[in-house]
Assembly symmetry: C2
Homo-oligomer: 198 residues x 2
């Protein structure tokens, strides 16, 4: 009886541990209550780009400078090189870091701080999400909370993103591939044509 009890406790502890364990596979993994297990090793994935103080709203003022770094899981990256678009189970990570200016021998411009200020994951999982893709944010870097379908990010990505609701127009090594493969979205092509006429 004692052995059975100990085994049950062990299973409960193990299950609890796995619930909170970050994912290491590079494939989307979820907790039983629908949270995304945040990818632990995304810094070893493929880097796509960084932005500096980027904003889609002209009035947004942050009061400090920021970097955004974007990573994609290596399997999906290789698939994109072949197809010019993303396969199912793609995961893109947006990591935000504060920008520092003066430090060590740096005299001008900005470099990235050691502290991560935010992580968001954009996941393609067609069987799970009605719109194929979903956004997750995380407070602790372990558990990803689903952004609800009415969140502004979904509409903005659907309308303006260059490839399959992702902002490939800002990923310098992927934009030429999508252009060559003819996978740019109608919305993006229309906006680009408008820019060319200005």
């Amino acid at each position: 009886m004692k052995t059975v009890l100990l085994s049950v406790i062990a299973v409960i502890i193990l299950a609890a541990f796995q619930q909170n364990a970050p994912a290491r596979s590079g494939r989307p993994e979820y907790t039983s209550d629908g949270h995304l297990k945040m990818p632990e090793n995304y810094r070893q994935w493929v880097y796509l780009t960084s932005g500096f103080d980027m904003s889609y709203s002209p009035s947004m003022q942050m009061g400090h400078h920021m970097f955004d770094n974007v990573f994609v899981d290596p399997v999906s990256y290789k698939a994109f090189l072949e197809a010019g678009t993303w396969p199912d189970k793609t995961m893109l990570v947006l990591e935000s870091r504060a920008a520092k200016d003066k430090g060590s021998i740096n005299k001008a411009g900005n470099y990235q701080d050691t502290e991560v200020m935010g992580i968001e994951v954009h996941v393609k999982d067609s069987a799970r999400f009605p719109g194929k893709w979903a956004f997750f944010g995380s407070d602790d870097g372990k558990t990803g909370n689903l952004f609800p379908p009415e969140a502004q990010c979904y509409k903005c990505h659907a309308e303006h993103a260059a490839v399959d609701t992702t902002f490939v127009q800002f990923y310098p090594t992927l934009l030429p591939i999508a252009t060559g493969k003819g996978t740019l979205s109608a919305g993006y092509l229309k906006e680009s044509a408008g820019e060319g006429k200005k």
Copy 2:
């Protein structure tokens, strides 16, 4: 006789091709006349950081905004996580890209342009270089030209870099590791202490 002649021509063409072929191994490779074969697939290496308009000289004005992205070969990255410093054969790549501002839906800040404006490689190869490390620049992205030992970069890295002549103080995921492993250079520690007193 004709077969022999054709074989000789084929060997010469192949040798010429290999001379100009970029390296794919992630380890330093050189041409017979001492140039570095530039790493072709560094964008699939491990990303370390990006800088924006960084300058070590307060008077430098570029007239345009720039991003610098830094990558390291995956084998050396894993070794750094263990040891807090770089193994022999480490290769760090500095990629420069122009920054764009208005484009697509971006209204503020900057994103990276598709055109690469420059690539430099910092190579640790103790048997080959008297100072263990060497810098290479490239005009065509294929052949790396050695920076001569009197170039300013060697002196600056030797005096100010946080770990083993590399600017780990600007690599946000590696600085805490080097700090923990106690591998920060005396020069950097002295300068940091000075900053703390200001």
